[in-house]
Symmetry: C2
Subunit: 186 residues, 2 copies
């Protein structure tokens, strides 16, 4: 069980980190900033979260879980039941939504480590790979990361912030990629 002071500090840390991530670029938020803002010592911070990424992951966790749950057991086309190409399109749309709602957190969760090492990536990968297999795509293992690449937070951030594209435009462009599945084995 978690001690009272521990729980209090955990909450403080997460709240402080959320604020800082919202107002600054993730790489400009230092562990010291977070500790200071949370009113907590360095050691306390490091005890739970070894780096920025793990804090962002903690903040993002519930949102990602919710989507993972819907992918596994939700209604079609996001959940099981629809044809693979449509499920992929629905997945893209949902991910764009997730990226849009938590852009800075997602960016923060990848500072330092590469996105492939995170648990979430493994889940998205397994999901899309299953869709590829269901669609009888040749060599799903090679295609899956290719199809996930456009969802990298930096790509999305570039499209939104620098190019000024609307989320719907991006979703539509991603939908074009599902032609890959629709056209069947080549």
């Amino acid at each position: 069980m978690e001690r009272a002071d521990a729980a209090r500090n955990r909450a403080r840390i997460l709240e402080a980190a959320a604020q800082l991530f919202a107002e600054r670029l993730p790489q400009d938020v230092t562990m010291d900033d977070i500790a200071k803002k949370a009113g907590v010592g360095r050691g306390t911070l490091y005890r739970r979260y070894p780096d920025r990424a793990s804090i962002a992951v903690a903040l993002l966790d519930e949102h990602e879980r919710a989507l993972q749950e819907r992918l596994l057991r939700g209604d079609p086309p996001l959940g099981p039941g629809a044809p693979p190409a449509e499920r992929l399109a629905a997945f893209y749309a949902a991910m764009v939504r997730l990226l849009e709602d938590h852009r800075h957190l997602v960016l923060g969760s990848e500072v330092g480590r590469s996105r492939f090492e995170t648990g979430a990536y493994g889940f998205w990968r397994a999901h899309v790979r299953a869709l590829l297999v269901a669609a009888r795509t040749p060599d799903p293992d090679a295609l899956v990361d290719v199809l996930l690449a456009p969802l990298a937070p930096e790509v999305y951030g570039y499209q939104r912030s620098v190019l000024g594209l609307a989320p719907e435009q991006i979703t539509r462009a991603l939908a074009e990629l599902t032609a890959t599945l629709r056209s069947g084995p080549s």
Copy 2:
């Protein structure tokens, strides 16, 4: 004009950096390492190259120029003349080749800054965008970065090093994406 000692040191720096990038992960190569190995002071190094990325870019420059030249004026399908979908496939194949041959350099060229800021990305972007326009794809601006995303060095590195995929597999998977162009406006 460049002074003799300046030219000598420039050569030393590039050679030292090339060796270090080859034997170590780019983020583990420090400016100090490069200066030390080149037998040059910190100040001298920073005078020409403000960061690691600019050194990697310098090393990569001629290879990227060569491909850019072939895209503009080479034979089809890489150069002008072939249908857009085939030119895109050829571009993918050439990029895989470039990534394979200079993987560590490409990775090094993106340490710190995001890949979208490099001059090279702008060129690849313009090229693919022109192909999309030629194929009468709706909203080329949204699709172009999506199609370039799988060529991010981290993605390629992950597929090669962690998953153990062969370059040909990756090229083939990328070729599937060109279905997006072949299927015509939706």
